[in-house]
């Protein structure tokens, strides 16, 4: 029987300085904090990071960026992270912004073996000023090349040893897309079940896309409820 379960250290062994790393999550839900912390401890640097946002100050992806490990960040929004905005304004990190759904589609295209997408989003704005344009049936379209990464870090709710993944609620977000779009896909999971115990109708990411499964030892406090977002 195939068993892709490994330790965090084993899973991250082949992540190298200068790699491009995609990281799932939208806010706390779906962010693989354990894998990010593993990368922080490993000391990898010069990274290009791709994530919807950079988490909030002092959390998750922001910790990697604050520690100076990232050369570049590709994301959609940094509204909840003044630290990274400050670093961007001081040119301590290069930041590339995309409309959220276009970022998602670029990643989906990368995962699907396509070269890019065509879109009219932002055609009248400064966001697309320097981008390649083509005419499609008389309409101006922006060419958005596909995005792939060396490594994807994924957080899932449950997995089986083959790497079939099930996400939970709003923790799904970018995870299933990124799980298709990297050369090495590492999924941390809250629980592992026996092969055959996941209902095939409910598998979100088929195991073929996943290289390593890391079963989390505990759900640490960073995965918990953020008081400042509660009533």
């Amino acid at each position: 029987m195939i068993d892709k379960c490994v330790s965090i250290d084993q899973a991250l062994e082949n992540v190298r300085d200068g790699d491009c790393v995609m990281v799932g999550g939208f806010g706390v839900p779906g962010t693989p904090f354990s894998l990010i912390n593993g990368l922080l401890e490993k000391g990898t640097r010069g990274l290009t990071l791709i994530k919807n946002e950079a988490n909030e100050d002092g959390m998750g992806l922001s910790r990697l960026i604050e520690a100076g490990r990232a050369r570049k960040l590709i994301c959609s929004h940094l509204g909840l992270n003044a630290t990274v905005i400050g670093m961007m304004n001081r040119n301590e990190i290069e930041v590339e912004f995309y409309p959220q759904g276009i970022l998602a589609e670029k990643i989906r295209a990368g995962g699907a073996g396509l070269m890019g997408i065509l879109t009219d989003i932002g055609v009248d704005t400064i966001l697309t000023e320097k981008k390649q344009r083509i005419d499609v049936n008389g309409r101006s379209a922006v060419v958005e090349p596909a995005l792939r990464a060396d490594v994807a870090l994924i957080h899932a709710h449950r997995a089986d040893p083959f790497g079939n993944l099930v996400y939970q609620k709003s923790a799904r977000n970018f995870n299933p897309l990124m799980a298709t779009a990297a050369d090495t896909v590492i999924a941390e999971v809250e629980a592992i079940v026996d092969t055959g115990d996941l209902d095939p109708e409910h598998v979100h990411t088929p195991g073929a896309f996943v290289d390593h499964v890391v079963v989390m030892e505990e759900i640490t406090s960073e995965y918990g409820v953020l008081e400042h977002h509660a009533l």
């Binding site: 806010g27 706390v28 959609s76 940094l78 759904g101 400064i126 709003s170 409820v225 977002h229």
Partner: protein
Amino acid sequence: MWWSWKRSRPNTGYWNITPYKEKIAQRAAEEIAAGQVINLGIGIPTLIPKYLTSEKPVFIHSENGILGMGPRTQPGKEDRNLIDAGGNYVSLVKGASFFDSTLSFALVRGGRLDLAFLGTLEVSETGDLANWIIPGKFSPGIGGGMELAQKSRRLVVTSTHTDRKGRPKIRRKCTLPLTAKGCVDTIITELAVIDVTPEGLVLREIAEGTALNEVIQKTDAPLIIPRREVPRF
């Protein structure tokens, strides 16, 4: 079965919201029709749900992959895996669904979002919207705003009539970089409800206790004033 909010007295304690924002949100809620799929941007739009009545069931979309979002979760009941696009813990209504980020924006770009409410920095008389960047001062990224502005079937801007320095936000032309061109259908402020039409900006309603002159004075773009008496809200 749709879930809907009951009309209740605005609770201004949580967010320290000034009354005019409540007034804008209350008026904005009247633009929603029963059964619509809607998206609420940050700021004033997040106040709209409490002004929806049980006769007006709606499905609220959240960019992070939810359709059928309910009100914010009561203290102690938060689910760590269930937030809205602004990070707040939310509940679900019956019939809700989860999906990934591509499907979330397929719903928006594909024309299945009936109505979006967004705040703004500036709006032009032709419905151009500028709400995402002040070069050199404010550039947190566009998030989902550009797609919502450009592709929702109807876009209502909810905003104060003037900025913090008292300058008109409704202008002949936007001075800030655009979010999208010609995307705004209606503007709701504490002073007026204004429709963007091919002829120009039409004053549809005026706030109770507001003089017509004040609206004209605080609007940089020309307003088309109907000959009949303008209804109050």
